[in-house]
């Protein structure tokens, strides 16, 4: 299922080879190449099927109709994961991930207190897409892997614009946007070219992953809660496409969504496993 797909991307170090405690009988598992992993993906959602058969041309088509993405391989299909140790400059249009923090958390269960590791991960392609994920697990590697998958599911587009003149590449956000999470409110304000990212530590990292070159930030609330702070920045970046600016006022024709467009394809051929079993 989706688990087989977890061996994709994000480099070999996240591969499923535990030689230490627990598993690891020393069996030599063949190194899965990225291409193999993509080929072995069996989609379970309609959207997944359409993406695998390349009926959908880009991630933006999915965003246009606000279709929920339930399989992380969908995102990987459009933005290839970058290998390990790829520098930021080279990683444009490749999905790069980074662990922000691993922290221990306590959970109260019927059998007493349980300590678990919680991993916060950010993924982005440094060119307009960003995702944030958090996962708890008893092993650090599992938590990181789970968080990466959740982050990929949460990838959103980020709208960039200009501060003053409309020439060159968009470098800042198009308008002032605000995001909130918990008690933290973060406001992103457009900045002129060359300002750089005027933001605290993790906010700067998130903005870099999103591909924003210049931005002012203004935070209020309990900024000590870095989790809420990071989520608030992510929320603000999501809002860049929620804000209706005058250049978007023009009417747009309503086009059918991918499910309707490819409904024939979805019905024909690719029967579900159950149906195949019955007819066989």
């Amino acid at each position: 299922m989706t688990d087989s797909g977890t061996h994709t991307g994000a480099g070999g170090s996240f591969g499923e080879k535990r030689g230490g405690f627990g598993m690891g009988r020393g069996r030599r598992r063949p190194r899965r190449s990225e291409k193999d992993a993509r080929d072995t993906w069996q989609p379970v959602t309609k959207l997944g099927r359409l993406v695998k058969e390349q009926k959908i041309k880009s991630l933006e088509d999915i965003y246009l109709y606000s279709l929920p993405i339930k399989e992380h391989q969908i995102v990987e299909e459009f933005i290839r994961p970058a290998g390990p140790n790829v520098r930021d400059e080279e990683a444009v249009d490749k999905l790069k991930d980074e662990v922000l923090k691993i922290m221990p958390v306590q959970k109260q269960t019927c059998a007493g207190q349980r300590t678990r590791f919680k991993a916060f991960v950010v993924v982005g392609d440094h060119n307009g897409h960003i995702g944030l994920g958090v996962k708890c697990s008893k092993e650090v590697a599992t938590a990181i892997r789970g968080a990466i998958i959740l982050a990929k599911l949460a990838v959103v587009p980020v709208r960039r614009g200009y501060w003053g003149n409309n020439f060159g590449v968009p470098h800042t956000i198009p308008c002032k946007v605000t995001g909130k999470c918990g008690s933290v409110r973060v406001r992103l304000i457009p900045a002129p070219r060359g300002t750089g990212l005027v933001a605290a530590g993790y906010a700067k990292k998130l903005l870099q992953f999103a591909g924003v070159a210049d931005c002012f930030t203004s935070a209020c609330g309990q900024t000590r809660t870095l989790g809420n702070f990071a989520k608030a920045v992510y929320d603000a970046l999501c809002n860049t496409y929620s804000y209706l600016t005058p250049d978007l006022w023009a009417d747009q024709l309503l086009t059918p969504d991918p499910y309707e467009e490819h409904s024939e394809h979805l019905k024909a051929g690719n029967l579900t496993r159950k149906a195949r079993y019955v007819t066989a």
């Binding site: 070999g12 170090s13 996240f14 080879k17 535990r18 030689g19 230490g20 405690f21 627990g22 009988r25 020393g26 190194r31 390990p84 140790n85 923090k101 691993i102 922290m103 221990p104 958390v105 349980r114 300590t115 678990r116 590791f117 919680k118 994920g133 958090v134 996962k135 708890c136 697990s137 008893k138 092993e139 650090v140 590697a141 959740l150 599911l153 949460a154 999470c181 918990g182 406001r187 304000i189 900045a191 002129p192 300002t195 750089g196 005027v198 933001a199 605290a200 530590g201 906010a203 002012f216 203004s218 935070a219 209020c220 900024t223 000590r224 809660t225 870095l226 989790g227 809420n228 990071a230």
Partner: protein
């Protein structure tokens, strides 16, 4: 003719002084490596200040002689300052006699207090501090790219991240050490393996072999190029062992990860609540005072420099506020008064001037409302992130 040229050059030079220069950095306080941090600690029971780890011995002796207090395993404790701070807060609320058991060491009538893991609170605290320390070390190892080592089996001179070295051992030499995300103290682990192999001992079954080639063949055939999970010498390198203080790893592994929660709730806002860290330090515009709360800093500026930030910034929009802050930072760096632009040789004399003449006020708007002041004068200037937070 020549005089004019000279004058022109002089003007150019003085102009270039005021031209933009590269971004500056604030002096960083404290070191970054997780191994050694120097910090000031206030004693548990009195108000003396000690510098750990410099005056560690003096501190321990002080506790023993003055307060009759012993701390179990004080030499091996990580993050002693945090430990002391916790107990200091505790002892403020309840006196030490009620919490800590007292013992008599020698025949004298002196009672000694012993802080040890017999106390439930102490045990939990030590476990938490240990876990935090280990995670900090792991974080450092995860991001640091300056690890260099000769490979154990081939001639490769490795340089880069530790996780990549482990990956190399795995891919090229089929040595399964475990997922590097689960490992900590990787340098020590590699040294330990190197030592064992150099002594011609198999790392898995601990048998001695006569020759290096024989050992290699044995390890290859028997698939012994991995860590024996029964060997407790290697326990300290796996993070999962630090999770529970009294349980062993195999018990932890047996517990199933709760994977049955619904997918939607996992990335909820609630999941982000628990990550708390120290706030960024904000530096005063006119002196070196550091604070974490911008409103407290503004009160300081009003009291010590006569500058009411909230009042002065009322009519300005966000961009003008940013420009003003950058302008003040630049003027202070160049040791010039922000109001009358008089130059000084020392910061102290400038500060005196500001107080005497009460020049901590806003000059003509045209002076700082220039596009060059959009760009931050200092890198990571926390004042700029919190400009809008200032309350009246």
């Amino acid at each position: 003719m020549a005089a004019k040229e000279v004058k022109f050059c002089e003007e150019l030079e003085s102009e270039s002084e005021s031209k933009m220069f590269g971004p500056l950095n604030f002096d960083e306080v404290g070191t970054h490596s997780p191994q050694v941090t120097y910090s000031e600690v206030v004693c548990l029971l009195c108000d003396n200040i000690f510098n750990i780890p410099l005056s560690f011995e003096i501190f321990v002796r002080h506790l023993f002689e003055v307060h009759n207090l012993l701390i179990e395993d004080v030499q091996t404790m990580d993050n002693l300052p945090e430990y002391i701070r916790y107990w200091r807060d505790k002892f403020k609320q309840t006196p030490i006699e009620e919490i800590v058991p007292a013992i008599r060491i020698d025949s004298s009538h002196r009672l000694f207090f012993m802080l040890s893991t017999l106390l439930e609170d102490d045990k939990k605290l030590r476990h938490r501090l240990k876990l935090e320390h280990v995670l900090k070390v792991q974080e450092f190892e995860r991001t640091d790219t300056s690890y260099t080592r000769m490979c154990l089996f081939c001639k490769l001179d490795f340089e880069g991240k530790r996780v990549d070295f482990i990956a190399h051992l795995e891919n090229h030499h089929n040595m399964q050490l475990g997922n590097p995300q689960n490992l900590v103290y990787i340098e020590e682990l590699v040294e330990k393996i190197a030592e064992t192999v150099d002594k011609l001992i198999c790392m898995f079954c601990n048998r001695l072999f006569p020759e290096r080639m024989v050992l290699k063949e044995h390890m290859r055939k028997k698939l012994h190029k991995r860590i024996n999970r029964r060997n407790s010498d290697y326990d300290k390198f796996f993070i999962v062992n630090y999770l529970e203080s009294d349980k062993k790893a195999k018990n932890v592994n047996r517990e199933k990860d709760e994977v049955y929660t619904s997918e939607d709730s996992l990335n909820d806002d609630e999941e982000y609540y628990d990550w708390n860290e120290k706030e960024d330090v904000i530096i005063c515009l006119f002196c070196d005072k550091r604070e974490t709360d911008i409103n407290i800093l503004c009160l300081h500026m009003e009291a010590d420099h006569g500058f009411d930030f909230a009042e002065c910034m009322k009519e300005f929009d966000f961009y003008q506020k940013v420009k003003f802050v950058n302008y003040v930072r630049r003027q202070m760096h160049r040791k010039r008064c922000l109001y009358c632009d008089v130059a000084f040789t020392a910061v102290r004399s400038l500060q005196n001037h500001l107080i005497e003449e009460e020049h901590c006020k806003i000059p003509d708007i045209k002076v700082f409302d220039q596009p060059e002041f959009y760009f931050p004068t200092y890198e990571n200037d926390a004042f700029l992130y919190l400009i809008d937070d200032v309350e009246d």
